[in-house]
Subunit: 394 residues, 2 copies
């Protein structure tokens, strides 16, 4: 009889997002007339931009003609997309197209990259953070010596370099769930930490398109020395509304100091991906390309601005109502302190039943998320207004 | 400094398919006028069926309207696709839609499923076989006690149940690379073996659409008792030309005997996928749906018939020229004995340089593949004719 990976027993029995979906479904069943306002899962609220729709349809049509059909693509992505990413986002930082590896999502990348590392490594993870970081470490058996990096009011809701060393560090900026982003100085401290301790930073840059503060980097590679110690994970999910299409990429610089015998991390990742993954659909990569340039870029940038506007409206509204909240300036998330010291799940239930409003309890992202809930600004202006109206009567 | 997963050192330094691609690129550079005939990688040669093109475009357009936009889909696939798979392929076998898990490819599934198992398990792998089975076991640290199942002329180029027990078994029928398929009796022996030894069969059914012999099952679940001991992996890559679109599914029966405390394998896989994967693009799933019913089914079945016809033309032609070959009856692959006992790589070079013809050396699939090469019938009628003409002058 095959033995099961015993690490599965260490996983928390419920994964937060499906659990919230279930709560929502229950409410819809018991109170079908409720008009539910969903500020929960960070999913897009705007339809796909017209240029992206056109680009994908045209690529699928190409595949329907003998002269332009395509089968398997390169496991790590088409050059046209890699080159456009470099041209539009990284050329000034010295990143080249061979450093770009296309995939179906940051979620896949951040967990799959762990394949490359031995289970003896010490990993640092922010608390609270996106639950997949920790769960992936558990499944891979890498959780035996986790170092938790508290993100509390005292730390500015972002992780700070600890006094001890570690091998791998998950960082995310703008941070999910707190909606706060590193300034240049703060990120520089992390790069210096990694250089000092020979650690590798796995930098989740999923929300970088929302950065608009001047002193806040959009890429970790804006910091000198980062190319020796960091991998950056980016996605089209939030910048171009690709949550339902699936396209992302990882930047693995050639200058990384970590090597395995003579093998670079690029070589190892390439080997991992060619063995375990067959690449992203050609039409989806064409859609991603369309979002980077010309009209597609304009359309998707307008969507990002509208989410940011909603985040600001929402946080200003909450403050006017006397609540305390953070984030939302360079991120689509608002980190909302629960009133009267109630727990995040109590506040979740209160908002659900009294205002028919979905949020994510901070505790679901880690113990330091207790007494906060996350609101997502991936929503519409009328929903924000309606939420503020309902909260005013609470 | 992070330590690298030491299992990577055990991987063979070159993965066969990219290596062949490189050889091809070299020839194209040195002899740009060569008209190369590619019978190598098992990629499709027919363009996407019209109904699939329409279904995908229409789904992308839906995503472009506010009223019908879609973000994240379910991690394990949309119900519309699961239900259509059951309705068209599994209803008579007692499989239900909750047993179906959609993914981006069999390659991903067969390697990711290993996440669920402890590295102490004994795994049986056919030799020769699709290289990802073994490489995935290596990366996951599951290779320490591999049991190789020889597929030689004596075994009919298919694996036979060994005399000793094991925990997990990779089977593939029709088999890649030998192009041979289990009869009902042969597969029954494997199910009985698994029941006797409490083993779990990971059944790769990628080429089942090519089965046309009467006594050859298309699904392992046609064998009584298989639902207690087998998981089946299927794909739209070959049945509907989805190699460049990426959609597959796994059937995990509810009746499986293997459990982990009270957790079924369905529950564990669901937890793995919701943590590590965000599902397949909505338009791609709509395209897969289109291939299962009505006009899309007719179009894709016609493609499969045309590949099978080419496989038969090719194998008959080779035999007429005095060569020895196997497979190609219920599979798109022909297993071609090298002449004069030369090695598979020598024959590869000979065919490449003398006939500008690409095949895959059998040794790339395992030591028992030595002295054979694999030809793929994912090609066109003029290429088959041209290949036979060139070989006649060899």
């Amino acid at each position: 009889m095959p033995s099961i990976n015993p690490c599965f027993e260490q996983l928390s029995p419920r994964y937060i997002f499906p659990f919230i979906e279930q709560k929502l479904a229950e409410l819809q069943q018991t109170t079908p007339e409720a008009k539910i306002l969903n500020f929960g899962i960070g999913d897009i609220a705007e339809p796909l931009a017209t240029s992206i729709v056109h680009a994908i349809c045209s690529a699928v049509q190409e595949m329907g003609w003998r002269s332009s059909m395509r089968g398997y693509g390169p496991s790590t992505g088409y050059s046209f997309l890699k080159e456009a990413i470099v041209r539009n986002l990284y050329a000034h930082l010295g990143i080249e197209s061979k450093d770009i590896f296309i995939s179906d999502g940051i979620n896949s990348d951040i967990v799959n990259i762990l394949d490359l590392f031995a289970p003896t490594n010490r990993i640092a993870i922010p608390n609270p953070s996106y639950p997949a970081y920790k769960d992936a470490c558990i499944i891979e058996g890498l959780h035996r010596s986790l170092l938790e990096l508290p993100c509390t009011r005292e730390t500015g809701f972002l992780p700070r370099p600890p006094s001890e060393g570690c091998d791998l560090i998950f960082l995310c900026s703008p941070h999910n769930p707190t909606g706060m982003a590193f300034t240049r100085m703060e990120l520089k401290e992390w790069v210096e930490y990694a250089l000092r301790w020979n650690a590798l930073i796995l930098y989740d840059s999923a929300y970088s398109c929302f950065v608009n503060s001047e002193d806040t980097p959009r890429s970790i590679f804006e910091i000198e020395g980062a190319q020796k110690v960091a991998i950056e994970c980016c996605s089209f999910s939030k910048s171009a509304g690709f949550t339902g299409l699936r396209c992302a990429y990882m930047v693995i610089p050639s200058d990384l100091e970590i090597k395995y015998s003579s093998l670079s991390l690029q070589t190892l990742w390439n080997r991992r991906q060619t063995t375990k993954f067959n690449g992203v659909a050609y039409p989806i990569q064409k859609g991603a390309l369309a979002s980077l340039e010309g009209k597609g870029k304009e359309e998707t940038e307008a969507q990002v601005r509208s989410y940011l506007y909603l985040a600001q409206t929402l946080s200003q509204g909450l403050r006017r109502l006397g609540f305390t909240c953070f984030g939302g300036r360079d991120a689509p998330y608002i980190w909302w302190r629960t009133p009267d010291n109630i727990t995040s799940w109590e506040f979740f239930d209160l908002l659900l039943h009294r205002c028919q409003m979905i949020c994510i309890p901070g505790e679901g992202f880690g113990s330091c998320g207790e007494q906060y809930v996350r609101l997502s600004a991936f929503t519409t202006a009328p929903s924000v207004q309606e939420a503020l109206d309902r909260l005013a009567t609470l």
